[in-house]
């Protein structure tokens, strides 16, 4: 299964973190740092796979793609196929590109919640559920449309928020 998806800037800043095996928030930065060090040390024109068992425990592998100012990183275990994962990164990036029209780092910074939505359409519980970027874009747009509708249409009773505020 896929253990985590990370988007890290070339400066080492996390742009998106999603763990499918829960990791306590305190550990996130350490993992990001470990991955970043690993990737920034790699020369150009080498393979996109790295064994990451030093960071994520035995058997963990990592596939990354370096695009512009970002590293897209998928971490997974031995039950996934490396080349297929590389294509999944490709699907993810293609989808982003479709959603944002020429995606750049800033789109990702400002819209990380949309990235989560996209990822949720692709991967659920660490398993790939959709690989057609067209399909993903479609459902993401559908969600955006319905969200807009509901936010304008529905008038929310205040009582709910009152109940929980202290």
């Amino acid at each position: 299964m896929i253990q985590a998806v990370m988007v890290i800037s070339t400066q080492g800043k996390p742009r998106l973190l999603k763990f499918y095996n829960f990791q306590p928030p305190e550990k996130h930065q350490e993992l990001v740092r470990g991955v970043f060090q690993l990737l920034s040390a790699r020369p150009e024109n080498v393979s996109n796979f790295v064994e990451a068992d030093a960071i994520f425990g035995p058997g963990a592998k990592l596939v990354y793609k370096h695009l512009a100012t970002l590293y897209f990183v998928f971490i997974f275990d031995s039950s996934e196929n490396e080349l297929a994962m590389l294509d999944l990164v490709q699907v993810f990036v293609e989808t982003l590109d479709r959603c944002f029209k020429n995606v750049c780092e800033l789109d990702i910074v400002f819209n990380f919640n949309k990235l989560h939505t996209i990822l949720d359409e692709m991967i659920l519980g660490g398993q790939v559920i959709e690989t057609s970027s067209e399909q993903i874009v479609k459902s993401v747009e559908e969600i955006a449309r319905l969200e807009k509708q509901s936010s304008t249409a529905s008038i929310i009773p205040k009582s709910i928020s009152d109940r929980f505020s202290r």
């Binding site: 398993q127 690989t131 928020s161």
Partner: protein, 971 residues
């Protein structure tokens, strides 16, 4: 500059306001981007968190704003700041009825907390409610959250709803419901065990996406228990066939490949189901062959499928035809320019050689290229492959490479791993003790602190025991070469502690044995070691004991030894050391120096570290003393078990003085002056010379011995203790003759037995015998022909492998000899060792014979490519008529995948029979192929190998600039 772009972009964003983010959030991101230092960034975020804390708690904040506040909180947490105060707000937001807020709430909750968190209990109810919602997006959000947040206890609460959703009209919902169930299964298999039939049912879902999703839980289930899903093999094969034949809607295509992820998953499942099952595998060959033929090696995803096919083939019951296809694809991978594909190729090769080691031969050069590659990942993968294919014939080359690489890397994690692999391989396959010691030296020198200390003890043990048996000369030569190398190595700075321990021990034990080095020289060196490591007590202890031994040996042979001033000061210093162990050792040295020659000789017998120390457990030598005491009226000893009531420590001690029983003594280790000293000395320390080399077992022995030696004062105790200490550690299991050979079975055991005479007769008589033996075995192989078992194939592989490695080794031997200016016969002895073994096990193959063999065959067998012939055979038989005939109608009748299952029996049987005939033809073919390969190799083999050997010796990559070899190997 990034910042500049940031600003420009931000202006654009700000004006359009695209995703509803406010100016504040943009400002935050911008200021973080512009922060000059980590501290400044931290300040900005803490300020932001304070702000958020206030606003989130404020009941008057509009709802639209709440969403953004929560997102800002998520952002802050992603940057590594504690936002736990906001978790409750996230939970609260999941209750909201507005879809965007609810989704944001779920997102934040899923990111913040896991199923063990206290707040989850507040979410479960919401999830329950949302699963029943009419809005499918709400249901989806709830399912996503459920797969993340529902722990074992909460599963029953939501399970019924999730199961109901399996029949939801929207395929997106069905898909997610399947995945949520899968997640539940991972959390707690028992909670969903009654739902397995649902997964099977979903396999026939109208929507291929749902079917694909179902494969994930099924894969896990099958992995757990393959046998109860064998009935699905045919279904899976049919689905795979339909997918591969593009029966799915084109929307499932990805880069012109039909539903590649579904194909990959199916192949993974088939690999598990077909493993070791000939019948199940029989169903798969055709479709696998099809996929190979249609395989698209131009795109990444096409290669992913091909790779998965190879994995599948290497896992299921082997079929030679399909193996050839896999091997061919693997070689394409290996020859590719892409590092990714090379990586996959190496991995695939590693899988295939488990079934047929021959395949590796063809790719030797590609593999070596990968080893030289600057890409670390590729290099590691290659080492993994080499590790898998190490045999006694190639262990030297491989371990040399590994060590070279180990030295070059800094990553401790991997360094430790590769060091332990080196040790493992060396222990398993070492062709000679000499080589083993040199290898271990290198490993210790560069990764000494990372390997298990037991390895160090094994090494000492080996040096101490040597070859064993008759050949004492070789042993002492081995030792003196070890001593030489250690004296040289000692000059280098920063040696790891465990390596220093070995060095000290060996120098102490054998430093003066061959008389090449004066005692004072070695003592000086040892003093340097002790001085250079003032904080490492273990090393100092080893050093002092080593010095003590050298003194003892010198005194024993009657040479006068001067007390070096630096040694004197060392002893003085240690006598006042904080470590009692060091103190004791220092005092022991001083005491020993004062003893007579004879006493010293019996205390510290020369080269006696391997001797067994006879332990008189009954302490019979004390009998007269006991008797004496009894006569004087002392109370007789009552064993502890027979004593009644409370045994106070006090009287326990008095008893103890009279007689010792094995388990009482250990509490008393350091006191007790024994009046019976003289007898004890003579009896315990003079050990019986014994040839029994079986490792002395473990703990109990140690204890006994320990107790024996402790009560005796200084020098005496030392001898016992030192002997036992070493023995204890080394004993574990590894280096005894049997365990050394255990993994490499008969070959190395015979090798060590014959090592002694190997040098004399391996070239003459042995050869004749072996060639005869080979002749006959070769004949039998031919007769069997059709059933080429894996075992035979392996033997056949070592044919080529061994001769290659031999050539290689010659190079190595030459190098070593030149470097170390050792007497040549010695090297010969070391290197002749494996040879007779080979002759025995694989009744095979000194190079000249191979040539003889090759010639006649080569004339008979055409050098045509066996694959091309195969292709021709395959084409009509399996591809067109049978398959297209049966599958076409089913496709036209209905899109449902399962409908084809009804005609599959027919398909299976027909394809099976064609398979059989094809297989038959093929086997003949493969035989031909095998012989022709042999022929190819035979031709000018030595020439090529020599080149290869020299290339490796010089360390040059035999890439393109070794055309001769290349041509030779690949035809």
């Amino acid at each position: 500059m990034e910042q500049l772009r940031t600003i420009g972009r931000e202006l654009a964003m700000g004006s359009q306001g695209g995703w509803g983010q406010s100016k504040e959030f943009l400002d935050l991101v911008k200021s973080i981007g512009e922060a000059r230092s980590k501290a400044e960034e931290d300040r900005i975020i803490s300020r932001e968190l304070e702000h958020l804390k206030r606003r989130l708690a404020d009941p008057d904040v509009p709802r639209r704003k709440m969403k953004e506040l929560l997102l800002r909180l998520v952002y802050a947490e992603m940057l590594g700041h504690d936002a736990s105060f906001g978790h409750i707000h996230a939970v609260k937001m999941t209750h909201d009825e507005s879809l965007p807020l609810k989704r944001t709430g779920y997102l934040a909750v899923a990111l913040f907390i896991d199923e063990r968190h206290d707040l989850v209990i507040l979410v479960v109810n919401t999830i329950q409610k949302d699963l029943r919602s009419d809005n499918y997006l709400v249901v989806c959000a709830a399912l996503t959250a459920a797969s993340r947040l529902i722990g074992e206890e909460a599963i029953p609460a939501v399970l019924p709803q999730v199961v109901d959703l399996l029949a939801h009209p929207k395929e997106a919902v069905r898909k997610k419901a399947v995945m949520a169930l899968h997640r539940f299964y991972q959390r707690s298999p028992s909670s969903v065990s009654h739902l397995v039939s649902n997964f099977r049912k979903r396999l026939c879902d109208n929507d291929p996406g749902v079917m694909g999703a179902t494969l994930c839980p099924l894969y896990d289930l099958i992995l757990e228990d393959p046998s109860s899903y064998k009935d699905l093999v045919v279904s899976f094969v049919n689905i795979l066939k339909q997918v591969a034949e593009r029966r799915l809607p084109t929307s499932y295509d990805y880069h012109q490949m039909p539903a590649p992820f579904i194909q990959i998953k199916l192949l993974k499942i088939l690999a598990v189901l077909g493993s070791g099952d000939k019948q199940a595998s029989g169903h798969m060959y055709t479709v696998l062959g099809d996929i190979f033929r249609k395989g698209d090696t131009a795109s990444n995803i096409g290669n992913a499928i091909l790779y998965e096919c190879i994995c599948c083939i290497s896992s299921i019951y082997p079929n030679s035809k399909i193996m050839d296809a896999a091997a061919e694809t693997t070689s394409k991978f290996l020859k590719s320019d892409s590092h990714n594909l090379k990586y996959m190729g190496i991995d695939a090769l590693g899988r295939l050689i488990k079934i047929n080691p021959d395949i590796a031969e063809e790719h030797q050069l590609s593999v070596i290229d990968c080893l030289e590659d600057p890409d670390d990942t590729l290099k590691r993968k290659t080492f993994e492959l080499l590790y898998k294919m190490t045999k006694s014939t190639n262990v030297e080359v491989i371990v040399d490479r590994m060590i070279e690489y180990m030295i070059s890397i800094t990553d401790h994690h991997y360094k430790a791993e590769i060091a332990s692999r080196c040790v493992e391989l060396a222990e398993q396959f070492a062709p000679s003790n000499q080589w083993f010691i040199q290898t271990m030296n290198k490993v210790f020198e560069h990764a000494g602190d990372l390997v298990n200390i037991r390895v160090a003890h094994n090494l000492m043990r080996l040096i101490a025991e040597g070859f064993g048996e008759e050949d004492e000369g070789a042993d002492s030569q081995l030792r003196s070469s070890a001593v030489d190398s250690y004296l040289r190595i000692l000059g280098e700075p920063k040696l790891p502690s465990s390596f220093l321990q070995i060095i000290c021990w060996v120098l102490g034990e054998y430093g003066t044995a061959d008389g090449k080095h004066p005692a004072s020289y070695i003592i000086g060196k040892l003093c340097d070691v002790a001085e250079a490591h003032p904080t490492d007590d273990t090393v100092r202890g080893y050093a002092v004991s080593a010095i003590l031994k050298i003194f003892a040996f010198e005194i024993a042979v009657g040479r006068k030894t001067d007390m070096l001033p630096e040694f004197q000061s060392l002893v003085d210093e240690l006598s006042a050391s904080h470590s009692t162990d060091l103190q004791q050792r220092a005092y022991e040295v001083q005491a020993l120096l004062g003893l007579h020659k004879q006493a010293v000789e019996s205390v510290m017998p020369s080269d006696a570290s391997c001797e067994d120390i006879e332990v008189d457990r009954n302490l019979s030598f004390l009998n007269s003393y006991v008797q004496q005491a009894l006569d004087k009226g002392a109370a007789p000893y009552i064993p502890e078990s027979e004593r009644s009531g409370v045994a106070s420590v006090g009287n326990y001690r008095t008893h103890d003085q009279h007689e010792t029983s094995a388990h009482t003594l250990r509490f008393e280790a350091y006191e007790l002056p024994k009046p019976s000293l003289p007898t004890a000395t003579s009896q315990t320390s003079i050990s019986l010379p014994t040839t029994d080399l079986v490792p002395v077992p473990e703990q109990s022995y140690y204890k006994d011995d320990h107790q024996m030696s402790r009560p005796q004062p200084s020098g005496n105790a030392l001898s016992g203790e030192f002997g036992t200490k070493l023995r204890l550690d080394g004993v574990q299991k590894k280096w005894g003759r049997e365990s050394y050979s255990s993994s490499s079975t008969p070959s190395s055991s015979t090798s060590s037995q014959q090592a002694a005479n190997g040098s004399t007769n391996s070239d003459g008589g042995g050869l004749v015998v072996s060639s005869q033996a080979r002749e006959s075995s070769y004949g039998s192989k031919r007769q069997q022909g059709t059933e080429v078992s894996a075992e035979k194939q392996r033997l056949a592989a070592s044919l080529f492998g061994s001769s290659a490695a031999k050539a290689d080794r010659k190079g190595h031997a030459g190098r070593k000899a030149a470097k170390e200016s050792h007497s040549t016969d010695k090297v010969n002895v070391a290197h002749a060792a494996p040879q007779p073994a080979k002759d025995q096990v694989i009744p095979a193959v000194p190079p000249p014979d191979l040539l003889d063999l090759g010639e006649p065959v080569s004339s008979s067998a055409p050098s045509a490519d066996p694959f091309s012939q195969l292709d021709g055979l395959l084409g009509p038989a399996s591809a067109s008529p049978v398959l297209s005939g049966t599958s076409a109608p089913s496709a036209s009748s209905t899109p449902d995948l399962m409908s084809i299952f009804s005609d599959d029996v027919q398909t299976g049987s027909t394809s099976g029979s064609t398979d059989a005939t094809v297989g038959d033809v093929h086997l003949k073919n493969s035989q031909k192929g095998a012989t022709s390969v042999a022929a190819k190799k035979g031709h000018s083999l030595q020439d090529a190998l020599q080149k290869d050997a020299t290339a490796r010796q010089v360390g040059v990559t035999p890439t393109g600039n070794n055309p001769n070899l290349f041509k030779d190997l690949l035809g």
